[in-house]
């Protein structure tokens, strides 16, 4: 067989294999083979992450302890104040007959690695199905919304970050109560969509989740408006939102149940 024919056969087999397998969308739980192949990498990632975390924790333990003691004192004082405010709030809500929406806690998890998919902005968490995490659950930090659960395995899960263009969440501007949809752009900022030009939106106004999408509970801080453009637009304003939580500093998160 000539060299040219051999090359054609190699290319043909390669293309055929890719095009055949491309129809095989897997969700990491359907195939034993896929799970078996990805298992060593998940274990390795977990291991290296634990090692680096342990050494870092040890290194910072003393300083962290001192800071925590200081923060604890401040937090206790703050807690006293908050208890008063919460009780007052509850009383007022009862008066208004409003139903209280409590956030359902699912799990707290650590970020152990960047996601495997280069085209998506994802992070891998060290908790999964065994800790009660399910697909599409909201992922938050103390600063605000960080993303949502994209895929779940037994002991790990993947978070689709707010930055990703495939991420969207229904939001409401905190002061003006206008509703829109926040979508990732691939950059640090996100876009606030579907705000018509006649609406007045001010820079610096915070955006929180509205809960209308059925995924995120209402009231989670998302970000702050940092750019508004009304000129040269078509149907909606060009509004940019700077998320409160920068995903490059994401270390520990809380996953909220539905």
């Amino acid at each position: 067989m000539s060299k040219g024919k051999k090359r054609f056969i190699i290319l043909f087999v390669l293309s055929l294999a890719a095009l055949t397998l491309v129809t095989c969308r897997h969700d990491r739980k359907s195939s034993f083979l896929f799970r078996a192949l990805s298992y060593p990498y998940d274990v390795l990632n977990n291991l290296t992450s634990r090692m680096s975390t342990a050494s870092k924790d040890h290194w910072n333990a003393f300083e962290e302890n001192r800071r925590l003691k200081r923060d604890l004192t401040a937090a206790l004082l703050e807690k006293q104040r908050c208890v008063e405010i919460l009780q007052e709030n509850k009383r007022l809500k009862e008066l208004l007959s409003l139903k209280e929406h409590s956030l359902k806690y699912a799990a707290s998890a650590k970020v152990i690695a960047r996601g495997y998919d280069k085209l998506l902005h994802t992070m891998i968490l060290d908790k999964g199905k065994n800790s009660g995490i399910k697909k599409d659950m909201a992922v938050i930090t103390a600063k605000g919304l960080a993303g949502k659960i994209y895929s779940v395995k037994d002991d790990s899960s993947e978070v689709l970050l707010l930055r990703d263009p495939n991420f969207s969440a229904a939001v409401r501007l905190q002061n003006s109560r206008r509703e829109g949809v926040v979508s990732g752009t691939g950059y640090r900022y996100s876009l606030l969509k579907y705000i018509p030009p006649e609406e007045e939106v001010e820079k610096g106004e915070p955006a929180v989740t509205s809960g209308l999408d059925g995924i995120f509970p209402p009231g989670l801080p998302v970000g702050v408006i940092n750019y508004v453009r009304k000129e040269g637009i078509e149907f909606f304003q060009d509004i940019r939102v700077l998320p409160f939580q920068d995903d490059t500093t994401l270390e520990e998160v809380v996953v909220l149940g539905k």
Partner: protein, 168 residues
Amino acid sequence: MNYAKWISFIFLTFLFQTQFSFFRSPLTFTVVLAYYFALKSLPRQSQAGEYFGSGAEMKSAAFGAFIGLLEDILSGSVVGPNLFSKGLIGFIGVTAFTEVVFKWTPVLGIITIVLFTVLDGIIVAGMRSIFTSIQINAVAAAQIVFIQALVNIPFGIILKPKKFRLTD
């Protein structure tokens, strides 16, 4: 021993790829690995100046396809885009250095690794946008590929085909 070496290379590549980023961009060391394997499997040159051992192309393409398959599986999306792109890099890597290029220089190494990184980016992004419903921001994807190519440049200089010598 040789298998153990390549298996550890694959492990380390995926580990580095998932643990590190450059200017917030994910890296693509699997392209470098496929390229390195292609260079390593370059056929020896005979005295007459003719190459033999045409199985190198198949071997290199198969290795590239295997690491691409692993990457696809780990990514949790469709299986195929990385398989095809890395397989193609393995195949072209051998073909180019046996049929097209007759003298290796560092500049050529840089050009090759940059072209392979861009080719990988185009194939993966193209196939993913065709066969899945994910949205890809073309400008952001181009920036990522650009940074990945920049990071891979040193490997283009370092990785040199040892058995590749021009007969006088």
